[in-house]
Symmetry: C2
Subunit: 223 residues, 2 copies
DNA sequence: AAACTATTCAATAAACTCATTGAATAGATT
DNA sequence: AATCTATTCAATGAGTTTATTGAATAGTTT
């Protein structure tokens, strides 16, 4: 093999990975799977696409070895092939946010719809939790909390927050987090809490970003 | 804007970045530009493609804001838009090497053509240099050395190594480095040195990987 | 101002990618 | 063994992406 053939082959193989990531739906799937394993149907529902399409995109991701499959009864459970996959996606997301201000503009504009709100970055939050200064709310669906959540966080899925308001102390500060920077469950939670007179902020990034930093987590399910 | 429109828009924007990276030639260009600015012609020559194609691919990269342009006389100089770009590419490269063993196989197989050789990882090397244990050879073309090289490295472009052999001490260990893990200048250098009875190893990764770690570098050119 | 030169543009055809169907499959449950 | 169910497959057409040309352009140099 000559040098050119070698390079064609190396960059060709690597392009298979980037090609697998070069589609909006597949990026959304990767972002979702960072929470843990999901069935094809759940993936389709969460991303608003037909099941056949979701399946097709998952085949792409599988071919590029970005996802893994296990079976659970009738369901095929897809999950990320490893931490590196989220790492790479986070890197790309970062890149997109920094140099392409279109992304950042869309995000900040949309967030404004939930009213002004403070955010807390992950490292600061880690200290606040140690000092018992805040109450941490995981507002993702219950199953995602069960698969893994920030140490000391309490699970209040956004859908149930309204009913649970009365049990929350009025004199504490709440920090809400969810799936990631493009998930708005935490924004919805903070907006609702504000309306009801609570002190609340949103965590920057989501659970996978916390985990990537090696900060303490808890698991409930045994998977 | 509703949630779905928001997500479509965010993931759509981010997919523009990944799409820009989803082509073998463009990956090779990014890898090359990690050494510094290059003209369209140089890029075309280094990657073995027609100038018009190189230009076309560069337009893609520019549209995704992955590269920047400056003019120098008649030449347009393209360079990476920032360190994040290399960061993301390194992340993807890592991902490709870990989960898709096709890439790693191609690389190790091709390297075998240069004979058995030891490699030294970047962190180990940093210590060896401090302790004055080795002589570090930058075997990239002279201009790339001038734009930036590892502190204390001497420039011996691979094309000139053979003539300079007589001036090299026989009782030292040489470490050669070049552009990156897919560049074989360093392998060629080590193979040649071995043939002539010198002790030599290759550095893992290339100059950009050293730089990404924030290790000490020197610049000669004022750009 | 004319000539030059590096780069970009524009048009084309071939090769891919994607969404949309509806049928097929593999495995679990009855 | 028959039924059920989640997922995959296969075929189609519309829309992109790419390599290949050769012409056009925008600056620089003379």
């Amino acid at each position: 093999m000559n040098k050119r053939a070698f390079k064609d082959s190396v960059y060709g193989e690597l392009a298979k990975v980037t090609k697998a990531m070069s589609n909006p739906h597949r990026l959304e799937i990767i972002d979702l799977l960072a929470q843990g394993p999901f069935s094809v149907e759940d993936i389709a529902n969460n991303t608003g696409m037909p099941i056949a399409n979701a399946s097709q995109h998952l085949q792409h991701l599988k071919a590029a070895k970005l996802v893994r499959i296990t079976r659970n009864g009738n369901f095929m459970l897809y999950s990320l092939a490893g931490e590196n996959v989220y790492q790479a996606w986070a890197s790309l997301r970062e890149l997109g946010m920094v140099y392409n201000n279109a992304v950042e503009k869309v995000v900040t504009d949309f967030r404004k719809g939930y009213g002004e709100m403070e955010t807390v970055d992950i490292d600061t939050l880690a200290k606040l939790i140690e000092q018992n200064e805040v109450i941490l709310l995981d507002v993702r669906p219950q199953e995602e909390y069960n698969r893994g959540h920030i140490h000391h966080a309490m699970s209040i899925p956004i859908a149930t927050l309204e009913q649970q308001l009365k049990q929350l102390p009025k004199n504490k500060t709440f920090i809400a987090y969810c799936r990631g920077p493009f998930c708005v469950y935490a924004d919805e939670a903070v907006a609702l809490l504000h309306r009801e007179g609570f002190q609340a902020k949103r965590m920057d990034g989501g659970f996978p970003d916390w985990m990537l930093k090696g900060l303490p987590i808890t698991r409930v399910d045994k998977i």
